[in-house]
């Protein structure tokens, strides 16, 4: 089984050659960009909580799966990691999928829409405020994550929104 694993700006090819269970841990033999590694893995108290031993270096790791990939926490840092099955990736590449030019600006959390600062058709720069959301008594400006043209305004002043609700659609 081979995976293409992206962290930050790097992508590693990780091939898990072999794995088996010993009494105290599972041993994974893998190649990371061709370099062989043997990793001892013990599940601590939940499926995502691992104790890794790599050449006797100890890593206490929490892996949380979210919609946009894995979040791997260890030693005071959290890494956003995307894992793709090499075979699946290949198929996708062959199909030549294109990215859509439409972007939904979503509410990062529930709150009350205090103001809508753009109207349909406006050209907005990256970082321009589009909606002001009040939550926990703080007013927070939601900004355009990229430049574009406002295609549609979904919410109105005074609306209560849930986290993840689309506020404005950019094109």
């Amino acid at each position: 089984m081979a995976y293409l694993v992206s962290v930050q700006n790097k992508t590693y090819r990780i091939e898990i050659e072999n794995h088996y269970s010993e009494s105290r841990e599972d041993i994974y033999s893998l190649l990371i960009d061709g370099q062989p590694k043997e990793v001892g893995v013990s599940v601590v108290n939940k499926p995502g909580h691992l104790s890794l031993l790599l050449a006797n270096e100890s890593y206490d790791i929490e892996v949380d799966k979210e919609e946009d990939g894995y979040y791997v926490s260890m030693r005071d840092e959290t890494y956003h990691v995307r894992v793709e099955d090499e075979r699946v990736k290949k198929v996708e590449r062959e199909m030549g999928r294109h990215k859509s030019g439409v972007l939904a600006v979503k509410a990062p959390m529930p709150g009350l829409v205090v103001a809508v600062e753009v109207k349909a058709g406006d050209t907005v720069e990256k970082g321009k405020g589009v909606v002001i959301l009040e939550a926990m008594k703080m007013q927070n400006e939601i900004r355009a994550p990229k430049e574009g043209v406002v295609k549609e305004i979904i919410v109105h002043q005074g609306a209560k929104v849930n986290g993840g609700d689309v506020l404005v659609v950019l094109e």
Binding site: M1, Y3, V5, V7, Q8, K10, Y12, I14, I16, H19, Y28, L30, I32, K37, V39, V41, K46, P47, G48, L50, L52, L54, Y59, I61, E62, V63, D64, K65, E66, E67, G69, Y70, V72, M74, R75, D76, E77, T78, Y79, V81, V83, D85, P108, M109, P110, G111, A135, M136, K137, M138, Q139, N140, N162, G163, G164
Partner: protein
């Protein structure tokens, strides 16, 4: 305990109502329990199972979740005090803590308010009037307005007179709400609008005023205790310059630019402020200190501060217990020369906010908590496993404190504590605190109230263990594919994440 004087025996309260929620309500209830005093909680709809409701001996429902319908309702809280026969009310911080009408109503009902008199609160609560009074008493103040602003026109005039940068502040309350720094004329109008809106919603009072904004100032405050017999002691300073949007994030004591001489001067000024205002109980006198170690009186926080434990760690004094002793009519149990200053302490405020997403409030269900422990660590927390952070209140969920023999030891212990602290299910400011605690200028004590922007402008340190992270994720991915059991668990994992993310209100 407590001295008896003049034949009149002071009797400690048997029951105290705590008009607050979260970690501060627990803090006060713990003091009550240690003094063998019964505690009475009040709770809103959202807080039926909250820690303070369960920790108290008695608990009374006071209304719907929004604080305007519960924790800010003076009438309901007084009703509970009467029904429960509470002899005193501790307001905590926030909510009604600095509301003179509340203090007055409590006094009127024949109940002890654990804090200053409504009269002292009124005097100091009007920040502009307070500065005038203190200036007349010989306390240095920052150049600025003597009265709340009447209109935008006036704002322009004054700003030009004292010169930009200026600071707009709410006259009706503190804590950074309704506060805006304005660098030049063009930003004045919108900042004014924002400040007024925030002041209205936070304090029910739109009044704001303007003062000179000092360059590279440090925010240093003095904790005072004053009894009802005119005696005042100060418990040394707290350095609170690490602020975001005028909200303190990290506090410490001692302040690393402090000298014995400056401490004595600021301490004496703080005591003079308290005496001038006829202040009683615990209070904090806030100052700005400039590069040349000139200090300027800012305001008095007429309540227990969020950061009071910093002072407790270096002085060994339980400030909440002292508040209760003072309110019960005892004389101060400490002389100024008996106040220690041992070692160094730091506090990090942990909020349910996402530092990677512009500090947006994060709600959801707390899945797992591992508190930091070991030498020198203290935690004050208002959460538990399974708790769903309600939307309605302040995002502060916990405070971590570290004590060390010196600042360096306090810092390494805090770094360790932040590293050990695990709060799963929501986003918190812990990662951001780690960044601050490892910043060269913080370590060197070389910062001012503008420090946080510097942190935000500093690129994130390079991550060290990308390969390990990649391998861990690949192993989890393989486990998910191979094992139906793990797959199920993964499903659960992913589900609770979603629930915690998108869950709007606790049921």
């Amino acid at each position: 305990m407590g001295e008896e004087k003049g034949g009149e025996e002071k009797i400690m309260f048997k029951k105290i109502l705590i008009a607050n929620r979260g970690e501060i309500a627990l803090r006060v209830m713990r003091a009550c329990r240690e003094l063998n005093i019964l505690s009475v909680a009040v709770f809103s709809e959202a807080d039926r199972s909250a820690p303070h409701t369960r920790y108290a001996d008695e608990a009374y429902f006071i209304g719907p979740s929004p604080s305007t319908e519960s924790y800010l309702r003076i009438d309901k809280i007084l009703d509970v005090a009467k029904k429960s026969k509470a002899e005193a009310i501790h307001p905590g911080y926030g909510f009604l803590a600095e509301n003179e009408n509340f203090a007055k109503a409590v006094e009127g009902a024949g109940i002890m308010f654990i804090g200053p008199t409504s009269k002292a609160m009124a005097l100091l609560g009007d920040k502009t009037a307070a500065r005038q009074t203190m200036s007349k008493a010989g306390i240095p103040i920052i150049p600025g307005m003597e009265k709340p602003l009447r209109n935008e026109e006036e704002a322009k005039k004054i700003a030009e007179k004292i010169g930009f940068p200026i600071l707009i502040k709410a006259a009706g309350g503190g804590g950074g709400k309704g506060m805006r720094m304005v660098e030049n004329k063009s930003g004045l109008q919108s900042a004014l609008k924002g400040a007024i809106a925030e002041a209205s919603s936070a304090f029910g009072n739109p009044a704001v005023y303007i003062e000179k904004y000092l360059l590279h100032p440090r925010h240093v405050e003095i904790q005072v205790l004053a009894d009802n017999f005119g005696k005042v002691v100060h418990l040394n300073e707290r350095e609170c310059s690490i602020q975001r949007r005028y909200q303190k994030m990290i506090e410490e004591s001692p302040c690393c630019i402090m000298t014995e001489d400056l401490r004595r001067k600021m301490g004496e000024s703080a005591k003079k402020v308290a005496k001038t205002a006829g202040y009683t109980n615990a209070g904090t006198v806030e100052f700005l200190v400039d590069k040349n170690k000139n200090f300027y009186f800012l305001e008095v926080n007429t309540r227990l501060q969020v950061e009071h434990p910093v002072t407790e760690l270096v002085t060994g004094i339980d400030i909440v217990k002292e508040q209760i002793h003072i309110a019960s009519g005892e004389k101060l149990r400490l002389k100024q020369e008996e106040v220690w200053l041992r070692g160094a302490a730091i506090e990090c405020r942990i909020s349910a906010e996402d530092p990677d997403n512009n500090f947006f409030p994060s709600t959801g269900r707390i899945e797992e908590i591992v508190d930091p422990t070991g030498p020198g660590i203290r935690v004050e927390s208002g959460i538990f496993e399974g708790y769903e952070i309600p939307l309605f209140y302040d995002p502060l969920i916990a405070k971590v404190l570290a004590w060390g023999r010196d600042r360096q030891e306090a810092i390494v212990r805090m770094q360790r504590a932040l590293s050990e602290y695990k709060i799963k299910g929501i986003k918190t400011t812990i990662p951001f605190h780690k960044r601050i605690l490892s910043h060269r200028d913080f370590l060197g004590g070389n910062f001012d109230t503008g420090f946080l922007q510097k942190i935000l402008d500093t690129p994130l340190p390079k991550e060290q263990n990308e390969e390990i992270a990649a391998m861990a994720a690949a192993i989890i991915a393989l486990k998910e594919e191979e094992s139906p059991i793990i797959k199920e668990s993964k499903e659960t994992m992913s589900n609770w994440k979603k629930v915690s993310r998108w869950m709007m209100l606790r049921r």
